[in-house]
């Protein structure tokens, strides 16, 4: 854990990890697991036996439809038998369906994609590549009504300690160059931009994209900070970068896209950074669907009762409550935190020290905001104290002297407001 420096009048300066300097970082491959689970963002109750049921045989790279229209599907990342389908409740009560596949054998590749004709067509892309490692939804990018102003390829990861995208930039510049070309053709985006940490720019130089160096200080790599500092366009409170015509995607997804289009092989592996209890960082490549438990066992990492497993980085990640959680398309990092290192929140009211106000990159008056949020005054928080301006960096909680879970309150407030809004819409 990083401690407050002795001299502490400024806001915290947390640095992104920097790799490079010539040497390639080793990547550890995790072998195929015995069983795998695939998490899909599709309501459990809507899955019908017509398309998917227990006992189905699935092949690696097979596209499995979930509904009649054919727009909802998932890609099986392993070869095996569907053993069970269950519901998984995630962050802020969101539910997912988990498809458990057992008896995983050596890959038998489904030939549909490699036999498909022009793989660089919108139709094929949407049919197969809606989810790629490092990206959740390609549909929003490909063939939009209005072409995007820009696509920003993240060569520097948003959160601290995470090196997944930097590594892609370092290890696979050719794939990235190709991917940028394909993506431009598919999306007709006016501008392609790639963000890099200062040391890595030479590797990204030959691409058909503008290379922009990002100051490696947290939270400069967060999309809304890049919008403000690079595009000089501030995202209005409550809106997303995509509303402004700028989409952010991981470098890893671009490489995966290039690979799939060139070779006709579905990308089914995911790269991620794993941080052990002692802070040691490892670069891992595992099949999507491999449970964390299998990854840990393979790497000889022992977890104990009371530890924490964090999906993502230390500032914005989400802790999971079980080891059976599978590696997913968006698993950029896994952190295992020793039980003694877990920060505890305490029940002390805000002491008004102002640390959060100095740390907030969005200029929110967090000391007042948290008072409203603690009392559930979400509307007022959004109206008077800029709840919707929050860029979700977590620095306020990191510096909080009273150790209030400010970030948690903010996310809860945002979720409650969104719920309220959707209720208003559905009531007409």
């Amino acid at each position: 854990m990083i401690k407050k420096p002795f001299f502490g009048w400024g806001s915290p300066r947390l640095k992104y990890p920097a790799i490079g300097g010539g040497e390639k970082e080793p990547v550890t491959e995790i072998p195929l697991p015995q069983k795998a689970s695939i998490l899909i963002d599709y309501p459990f109750e809507k899955i019908t036996e017509m398309f998917l049921k227990k006992g189905d045989r699935v092949k690696t790279g097979q596209r499995i439809r979930l509904s009649e229209g054919g727009n909802d599907y998932f890609i099986s990342t392993v070869t095996g038998t569907v053993e069970d389908i269950s519901i998984y409740t995630g962050y802020m009560g969101r539910t997912y369906s988990a498809i458990h596949i057992e008896g995983v054998t050596e890959d038998q590749w489904d030939p549909t994609l490699s036999n498909a004709g022009d793989r660089l067509s919108t139709e094929i892309c949407l049919k197969f590549f809606r989810r790629l490692p490092g990206i959740i939804d390609l549909e929003r990018l490909v063939d939009p009504v209005v072409p995007l102003d820009a696509i920003v390829i993240k060569g520097i990861d948003e959160d601290l300690l995470v090196k997944t995208n930097q590594l892609v930039l370092l290890n696979n510049p050719e794939g990235l160059t190709k991917g940028v070309r394909y993506l431009k053709e598919l999306t007709k985006a006016k501008r392609m931009i790639i963000t890099v940490p200062p040391g890595l720019s030479s590797d990204a130089g030959n691409m058909d994209a503008d290379v922009i160096k990002v100051k490696p200080v947290y939270p400069q790599a967060l999309p809304k900070m890049i919008m403000k500092n690079v595009f000089k366009r501030t995202v209005p409170a409550g809106m997303t970068c995509e509303d402004m015509g700028v989409a952010f995607i991981n470098a890893e997804a671009v490489v995966a896209l290039a690979d799939a289009i060139d070779n006709g092989v579905m990308p089914v592996d995911k790269n991620f950074t794993l941080i052990d209890k002692d802070g040691k960082s490892m670069n891992i490549r595992a099949r999507i669907g491999t449970s964390f438990k299998d990854v840990f066992e393979r790497l000889n990492i022992k977890t104990e009762h009371g530890d924490s497993i964090i999906l993502g980085g230390p500032m914005r990640g989400r802790s999971v409550y079980m080891e059976d959680m599978p590696v997913n398309y968006n698993t950029d990092a896994i952190i295992i935190q020793h039980k003694d290192d877990i920060t505890e929140n305490v029940d002390i009211p805000c002491i008004n020290c102002g640390e959060c106000v100095r740390a907030c990159p969005a200029g929110i008056q967090v000391n007042m905001l948290v008072r409203l949020l603690e009392n559930g005054l979400y509307d007022e928080a959004a109206r008077e104290y800029d709840l919707m301006s929050c860029i979700e960096c977590g620095l306020c909680t990191y510096v909080c002297t009273a150790r209030i879970p400010v970030f948690h309150y903010i996310m809860l407030g945002k979720a409650e407001l969104a719920k309220q809004k959707s209720r208003e819409v559905s009531n007409g």
Partner: protein, 322 residues
Amino acid sequence: MADRKLFVASHAPFWHNGSGVSSRSFNMILAAMPAVIMGIMQFGASALGVVALSVSSAMLWELLMNRLMKRPVSIGDGNAAVIGLIFGMLLPSVMPWWAILTGTFIAIVVGKQIFGGIGCNPLNPSLVAVAILTLSWNSLLDFDEALLNFDPGFYMVYPLGALKHFGVSAISNYNIQDLIMGRQSGGIGSTFGLGLIIGGVYLIARGHIRWEISVSFLAGIFLTSWIFNIADPSKYTGPVFHVFTGYTLIGAFFLATEDSSSPVNFIPMLLYGFIGGIITILIRNIGAFADGTVFAILMMNIANPLLDRIKPRAMGKGIEYA
């Protein structure tokens, strides 16, 4: 399922910079030490007694209130000790025990706990106590009267009292070196100028107090007294005397900077400190009291919520997407 391995799930971020209320309080106490120790050396064992009783009774009142209000025991965070210590630093070394108990009762119970405890007090608790004691038993806090039979070996007329009652000519007995080194009459922990500055600079460097408030408060004192001095040097003394006498330095570094009752935004902090400095000098020069620091800061405490409305525009506020 009893032996199932369970993981701790909490919300991001999973790091913390390690700061906490107790370490903040500890640093406040540490920073106050030079001034307190010097005060005890100057004024003797009775000063030690006053400070010790003040700190301990403040903590006991806090404990009592915790029990009465059925809240978790909060004396461990050190905030009550800090309030008690700062209150003790403002008192003359001969304060009777019952007045100290009354004072800490006012500070902790009336000043802090009835508003909801730490972080909820609208006014600086130590100052509330001093203000009420000043108004109730004025003679106890009149340093000339209280310290009448006291001879520590230096000129024992309260400097601001001399200035108030006998004018500029009376202060020629003081030299600046004595004032800085604590050889002056006053509160136990508020006379040693150098020690207070060292403590204040330490707190600023560690980020425990906000430098904007201290600097602007001193600037307010300095500028206002300078203007008075220029206007009529025969009636009003210069700024240096004001900075090193009375509660000015303890006010700038320990009183005005109290977290809960001071603003956190940049411009409000400057205004808060600066206006506080101006009011202090106005009270000293043309008001009824010899030292105006207590009431000036309390007044600014009241203005704090209003001042803190001057806030920077948050990112993305009030702009429309065109």
